[in-house]
Symmetry: C2
């Protein structure tokens, strides 16, 4: 059976301070959009479970004009479970990369169309790189004394390294494709190989 990491994503974010489900969602959306996401359908039931299991405490904060906030705070037991996960070896997870998958079947469309796809990919990653730089700036200005800062910096650095690699690969790939002479036009019947050596 496969273990969900959402539980730890929630537990972990609670280590930043007491929070509501709404806050957690917002945090992942606004700050970690690049490599993690969570939906309400997961967050709220998990928070409830964490409370019944004694890993977090729940308190209701009344507000006027706005709905009540249900604030969850990590307990010592919750921290312990979080720490156990943090030090445990991380299993490798195969992310599905749609652009690369499409490229595997690039034979079935024209060179120009393949280039178009890689350009789209490159442009998206360029945008992401810009966003990361902006976020980095914002964080360095606003949260100077936060003890988590060094780790956020590492995450930003990761985003920079990886996105630069994406962009460099894309540029090279586009150049390679451009150099290939556009031979036979795209077929309307499958181009098949009748022997695959597996």
């Amino acid at each position: 059976m496969k273990k969900s990491k959402t539980r730890f994503a929630v537990l972990g974010i609670l280590s930043y301070g007491p929070m509501s489900g709404y806050d957690i969602k917002k945090f992942y959306e606004q700050n970690v959009a690049g490599f993690w996401s969570e939906s309400y359908g997961q967050i709220y039931p998990i928070l409830k479970r964490l409370a019944t299991e004694g890993l977090a405490t729940r308190s209701v904060h009344k507000q006027e004009g706005k709905p009540d906030r249900h604030i969850y705070a990590l307990t010592a037991k919750g921290l312990e479970e979080l720490q156990q996960w943090l030090v445990a070896p991380t299993g490798r997870h195969i992310g599905r990369h749609e652009t690369l998958l499409k490229l595997m079947f690039g034979q079935q469309i024209s060179l120009a169309q393949n280039i178009r796809q890689i350009e789209r990919f490159r442009d998206r990653q360029k945008g992401e790189l810009t966003e990361i730089e902006a976020l980095k700036q914002r964080f360095q200005q606003e949260e100077v004394e936060d003890p988590n800062m060094p780790f956020w910096q590492l995450a930003f650095s990761y985003g920079e390294h990886v996105n630069r690699a994406y962009i460099k690969w894309a540029e090279e790939a586009i150049a390679t494709l451009r150099e290939m002479e556009p031979k036979a036009p795209v077929s309307t019947s499958p181009k098949v190989r009748y022997s695959i050596h597996c």
Copy 2:
């Protein structure tokens, strides 16, 4: 509603030639392990659907001593649908990156333990890089005249670029963490911040 890409992963692989569900699974396992995977529970039902929808034809190949092979071949209609997907813009997909997520909560464990995790990540990616090089060699030797070759090369190049970036980031991150003086020991009660500016 969210659209599954498995359908196209199957359709696409059939563009390489007529194949069985077993072959498809093997292909993804052995050649594309880095960025895509499929399970029988998905493949077989989809093949059945493709046949009823006229996107693929099915023929049974009897064997002695072994179970029959159900071979599926792409039809013109199937190729058309594949091509439509191949040229359509690719939506961005947020892969969940467990090592990075753990790093976000690195405050809750020791510096040494954080370094340990990044080292594990680095070593895994080093292994992956080695595998990619080996696969690249094997492909270049065995399948010289395959028309899909240039696209496979691009996929290999992608793997090299990205894994080198992973490794470089990891080395830098480890160096950064090593330079940080190991201050207060790890807490057994949550280190919290009571203000998060969102």
